[in-house]
Symmetry: C2
Subunit: 329 residues, 2 copies
């Protein structure tokens, strides 16, 4: 299996990307095609130990920056690592694509190059989030910021198949992220979506609220991409703020600093439990190919794990399973 990795994507590219890729080929049965600035990549690869037959490099003279406008840069930078990398999948030269770069550009390039699966209107980004009962899947966290109710229904179907075949949750419960539990709550858009989900074959348990996001109330959380994106980023903000408040308070108290010595392990465990890098990558569902998106902050471990996520999605033939589910719906 061959996985294309955007060497130029992420806040710490290409160094961190390459370290992650090397770990991946050393650990998993997978080949990687690194796309990006060839001389720099080759230089960095020289420092690493790996089976050279498992990593190849394709030169891309351009790169799309983290905050460049998505559609415009994909149109203009035809020789960028994202566009060229996606084309390798389109042409059948690779099985999957991964980038920790500009999310909007990846969504746009994937849609243009791989196109949508028949029966799906728009792609959605699904993300595994930790919960008090293990983990949940949330879709969409930002690919489609102005969706239609039917598109949220599609996200439900895609997320359901992902839960079943990739996350090993055989009968996932499904909730709609809304501002209240009652079916009459929320905007007209939310009420329409609630109706569609209720009439579907999904195991729909109704609306869930923001306060349920990490409680594990349901296995699959369906969300408007705008709201889902804000929800995720607010979560990071809360965690960062709590961390900073705690540091500020501890600094003022020698007693607390002493106590902290005994709690180091605890905070490490907590960090691990909440750590996105354990999971690594978020699948872009609905396009005709396997595309995984990484957090801009990704470290080498997150990159490695994202490659594993791509590998599993290819092996378990997610898109074939999804097409089957759509034809039966």
């Amino acid at each position: 299996m061959k996985i294309v990795v955007d060497a130029m994507g992420g806040d710490h590219a290409p160094e961190v990307v390459i370290r992650g890729v090397v770990s991946a080929v050393n650990e998993f049965d997978v080949e990687v095609i690194l796309v990006g600035e060839e001389p720099k990549i080759k230089d960095l690869l020289k420092r690493e130990r790996f089976d050279p037959s498992k990593i190849s490099v394709v030169h891309a003279p351009e790169a799309i920056g983290m905050s460049e406008p998505a559609a415009a840069s994909v149109r203009k930078k035809r020789k960028s690592s994202i566009v060229l990398g996606m084309e390798l999948v389109e042409e059948g030269k690779a099985d999957a694509f991964f980038s920790a770069g500009n999310t909007g550009a990846v969504v746009c390039a994937a849609t243009l190059s791989l196109r949508m699966l028949p029966g799906v209107e728009r792609p959605g980004i699904a993300l595994v989030i930790p919960s008090l009962k293990g983990f949940s899947l949330m879709i969409d966290v930002g690919a489609n910021i102005d969706p239609k109710p039917t598109q949220l229904l599609h996200y439900g179907l895609m997320g359901d198949v992902y839960c079943k075949y990739i996350l090993n949750k055989p009968d996932p419960t499904v909730g709609l992220l809304n501002i209240g539990e009652e079916e009459t709550k929320g905007t007209e858009f939310m009420k329409e979506t609630h109706e569609l989900l209720s009439a579907s074959k999904l195991n729909f348990i109704g609306n869930v609220e923001g306060k349920d996001l990490y409680s594990g109330k349901c296995d699959l959380i369906i969300s408007d991409g705008f709201v889902g994106n804000i929800a995720l980023k607010v979560s990071e903000s809360v965690a960062d703020a709590l961390n900073n408040f705690l540091k500020k308070i501890i600094k003022k108290s020698p007693l607390a600093m002493f106590g902290l010595l005994f709690m180091r392990g605890t905070f490490k465990d907590l960090k691990k439990e909440m750590d996105y890098s354990e999971y690594g990558g978020a699948p872009l569902l609905g396009v005709n190919g396997v595309v995984i998106i990484g957090h801009g902050r990704s470290n080498a471990k997150a990159i490695k794990n994202a490659i594993r996520v791509a590998k599993v999605e290819v092996e378990r033939q997610f898109n074939e399973k999804l097409l089957e589910a759509i034809s039966k719906k």
Copy 2:
């Protein structure tokens, strides 16, 4: 000054509400009219010590439950504590209204009974949130879940006046909660709102993201009520989840339990710093009167502080200041 308090509002009403009211009249120069089930209220008041001239009771035979549909229950339950209490303000028999009950019902009753200030289309709930730099004000957190761009501009104007005259921030910086910083980010609705805010006299610094919510990047955060509500509830979810994860991990480690003995004070300080009850109540801005909404979970301290919030808003003549600002805009 007379403040109407809905004795039946909140998860722990009327007991907790009455304890909060008694603390308020004992601490502040304020009179309270308690509206609700008179026999029960009088019975509970017997246990408390306070100047009897400072608390009076108005009987309301009905109460609106926390999860009843807002508009329908306000229409039907004309003798509920929320509807009767709001009428006391409308008739000039009191200066302000406070409830920790059904938020939607309070918004609806306030709009129907007090009506909007001239020049304002829809009311918005403003909430003080803790930040790494002190605190920020966020508006709207759920009064108007399907707003128009002009309505978000109004929220900006109202929040600006609230920051200046109530929160003592003379030149508040203003941000729009969106999914990216660039002005081209977000839905058409967000782009239009961005334009209106840019053209206004507000000290608008542009879009802010979910990750900035608690960083103190700006003094005033303007948000769509749907998104604002989700953002707040997600924040509670993260804090609860972190707390629970931490407990789970500590239980497994005797060393961590020992360390915790020395950190008790730290966690108490942290809780205080993040504690909504320190502030107590969220003003409903835009209606022709002073209306404060409390969290359903409010404890006696939060109730007391919400009464202080109402008192300050009346004393500093917020609505007069707002009308002045609107006439000059």
